[in-house]
Symmetry: C2
Subunit: 485 residues, 2 copies
């Protein structure tokens, strides 16, 4: 019979509600070892005695002792009993409480991005218009009927039926010519940029970047070690002449031809052909970010640059996060066939593959015609809202702000015509509760553009008129101070 030891002076705390006996005993003993109440070398009573002493079943005690032994906190030797091992006498982690101050990339410093959107927060779609009940029904149906294949899907390229639906949708709505096999589903344009930059560009390669332009693209390229060459945007989009002067042999260019971000100009055919010419000569590829190409309020939407490309130069990317709702997280890349393999091979290391349920639901949403109806309905709505904003600005802010006659998107630039700097105007607006984005947040090198970006899609006529009135007060005040200065 093993030598009996006397029980240690060990108080076990009362068992919390909902904790099993095993879990409780384990935590108590492990805590006691970790904080030194049970020191190295201390012998424990035999499991039988321990169980009796603490009114537990012997099975519970044996299970816990074995577990602690597996983890190295206890040692057992037949005939010698159980004792606390030498290497385990350390206090448990002391945890700090922590108040996180979350960071946005520096171009967004000081901007409000959470909480209810107030006019004119940029790039918000009208989520109150979104048919939640349809999405809920489709999600429930998809999940109830989910096959083992759907739940285990690991296609790094994305759910095949969604890619089929998307190829068709992009052909009809954006003039894109592609097969489902050229499409890679991502969580949005940002992931598409990160993936393409890392899979297809080498560190030190140069890329033409629209200036002003989308800072998320700049971030993705810089994160991949790519040399970002700012190229000015004029009234036709990125200047190919400037680009050729600055970096004739760049490996790529980043473009927003449908609706330049943030200035809103549409790239006309002449410029499109000029940049395709450069791409062919330089052997470069063109990243076409079609982030809100669906929203054009006059005429048909301009087809994608991709539809004019006959040299497999264009990589098209787009997103449903701006059309439907931003927390959806489904976007896509349309790749020239030769670029597919390197992108897919890289994708595994990034995040393996995308969420299945969202892909399935979006697929049904497209195939059953909901997307088409929703885009048509919101296109009309957004067009009317833009008209109200343009009218209000003309009427109230004539000499101060100038909105170009662009009929597209979810946001519009408004150029400052009173000599006030963008950031000062943004702050003044914010002090009146009006959310805007200063254009200089998007500039890389340029200092010659002063303006505000104003979102209109998510706000009704009354909200727009009210916010325009506040904006008038904010900017008129600024001008007055300037004149008296």
């Amino acid at each position: 019979m093993p030598k009996r030891v006397s029980p240690p002076e060990l108080t076990l705390r009362q068992r919390p509600k909902g904790t099993t006996l095993t879990r409780w005993l384990y935590d108590e003993l492990r805590g006691a070892i970790a904080d030194g109440r049970l020191r190295a070398g201390t012998r424990l009573p035999a499991s039988r005695d321990f169980a009796q002493h603490y009114k537990l079943s012997r099975g519970t005690v044996v299970t816990v002792f074995e577990q602690l032994e597996i983890e190295g906190f206890l040692r057992t030797k037949v005939g010698a009993g159980t004792w606390v091992s030498n290497t385990a006498e350390r206090p448990l982690a002391r945890r700090q409480t922590f108040d996180a101050s979350r960071k946005l990339p520096s171009p967004m410093g000081g901007l409000k991005r959470d909480g209810p959107a107030h006019p004119f927060r940029c790039y918000e779609p009208a989520v109150d218009q979104f048919p939640r009940h349809i999405w809920a029904r489709l999600a429930s149906r998809r999940m109830r009927g989910a096959s083992a294949d759907f739940l285990s899907e690991r296609d790094a390229q994305g759910h095949k039926p969604l890619r089929d639906a998307l190829a068709n949708y992009l052909a009809v709505s954006r003039g894109v010519k592609c097969s489902a096999d050229q499409i890679v589903i991502t969580s949005g344009v940002q992931q598409a940029l990160d993936l393409v930059a890392r899979a297809l560009l080498k560190r030190g390669d140069s890329i033409w970047m629209e200036d002003p332009g989308y800072f998320g693209a700049v971030t993705a390229f810089r994160n991949a070690g790519v040399n970002v060459v700012p190229v000015p945007v004029d009234e036709q989009g990125i200047s190919v002449t400037s680009g050729r002067k600055r970096a004739r042999n760049a490996k790529a260019a980043y473009l927003t031809p449908a609706h330049q971000f943030p200035l809103g100009v549409m790239m006309p055919a002449e410029r499109r052909l000029a940049i395709l010419d450069w791409a062919r000569e330089a052997g470069a590829f063109l990243i076409e970010d079609d982030y809100d190409g669906e929203y054009r309020f006059e005429g048909s939407p301009a087809p994608c640059l991709q539809s004019l490309d006959r040299n497999d130069s264009v990589i098209l990317m787009g997103t449903f996060n701006k059309i439907l709702f931003s927390s959806l997280r489904v976007g896509y890349i349309v790749l020239p066939p030769a670029l597919l393999d390197p992108v897919l091979a890289f994708r595994f290391g990034l995040d393996q593959n995308s969420v299945a349920l969202e892909q399935g639901v979006l697929c049904d949403f497209i195939v059953e015609g909901h997307l088409g109806r929703y885009v048509r309905r919101t296109r009309e709505l957004y067009g009317a809202r833009l008209a109200v904003l343009q009218e209000e600005i003309r009427r109230r802010l004539g000499g101060l702000l100038e909105v170009p006659p662009i009929q597209a998107g979810l946001s519009t630039v408004a150029y400052l015509r009173n000599g006030v700097a963008s950031r000062r105007a943004e702050s003044a607006a914010a002090s009146y509760g009006v959310e805007t984005m200063a254009i200089d947040r998007f500039r890389i090198e340029r200092k010659d553009v002063e303006g505000l970006l104003l979102g209109f899609a998510a706000f009704d006529e009354r909200q727009i008129r009210k916010a325009a009135e506040k904006l008038e007060a904010a900017l008129t005040g600024l001008q007055a101070r300037r004149e008296t200065a």
Copy 2:
């Protein structure tokens, strides 16, 4: 009155079903310009005559002419009419059809990953056990009641209620001590690794990597330009002694302490404390990948290494893709407070934030007790399935395969004891329809471990017994060939 021109010899193709008149006319004219049927300088009839000639409303014609003018394909001058502009005379893109051959990272070359899982496919949970109807109900409820905030959520850290639920779940189930503010939601361990490697390590930094180990981690580190230092795994996990010899001043180490991937050993307390000591001395951090820590079939699950850490050295990461279903795509990182800001700042450039609906549904699934019940139920099931596999291998494959007495996870290693190389055994098994993974797929430098990884969680007793019989035939045949050679 403007000069009238005669209509060009232009045949318009029949309008396809479902295409609007505007879209059809636009496509026809643009196609004709692009393929040269309408050449530069060709004058078009006045819109009125054009409309009459083709039986269209004049409004349709005007809209299309204006659109083509905006895009630069047409030019109009009052008094001179409309003509095809000079810069637009190029053929449309000729698209190739394409048959994509998708790539997996090279360590997975030749492995089946899609289609129905056959025994013993690795790391598959039993998706047939998953309560789809509960998930469907929660998804529908979340979406029907979705607030504008939920649809617009852009918290790069993840849905706050999910982080609260997760902090609680991890405390109870894995001994983790953290607040919701230390958690970042990702799409899984792979994205967590990519994010942490890029945000916290510099190019050229060294990291200890378990050898054999998870190739997805090697990929993530190498993609970030980090120098991967292979450190051998022994019966206690990664060898701290070897690590110190090979790279004493490494900046980090990658570990799977609960259940080493792929060998399955649990790191005992002694080794845990030794590696925490090294991390403190070196100022390094430890990446603890707790990929299937919930599944331990004897005793309580070993608490995370993170719970022993008192120097904020441990970055814990885990996933629900292995517990619930692989296409879910929700995982998490638990960060020491000081590392939160750089990780969040980097996350914007990666993919901005995670899918809201999955986060909301998972939150409800945890809070309403479904996760706890599901893990308990499958833990029992998987334990029983592992027991069947172990019994079958002992009985049928005694001298050929040896399964260590590990009671954890979704897959187990089986060491080859007949001198046959891992890949040859894997091929032989595959020729009998049995899916396995050769252990050498996971090695970095080592050549001294030969074995197969066998998944058991997704297969019932009958499937396991049947596949073990086939495996016996496959491996016995191999041994026989070797003996007669």
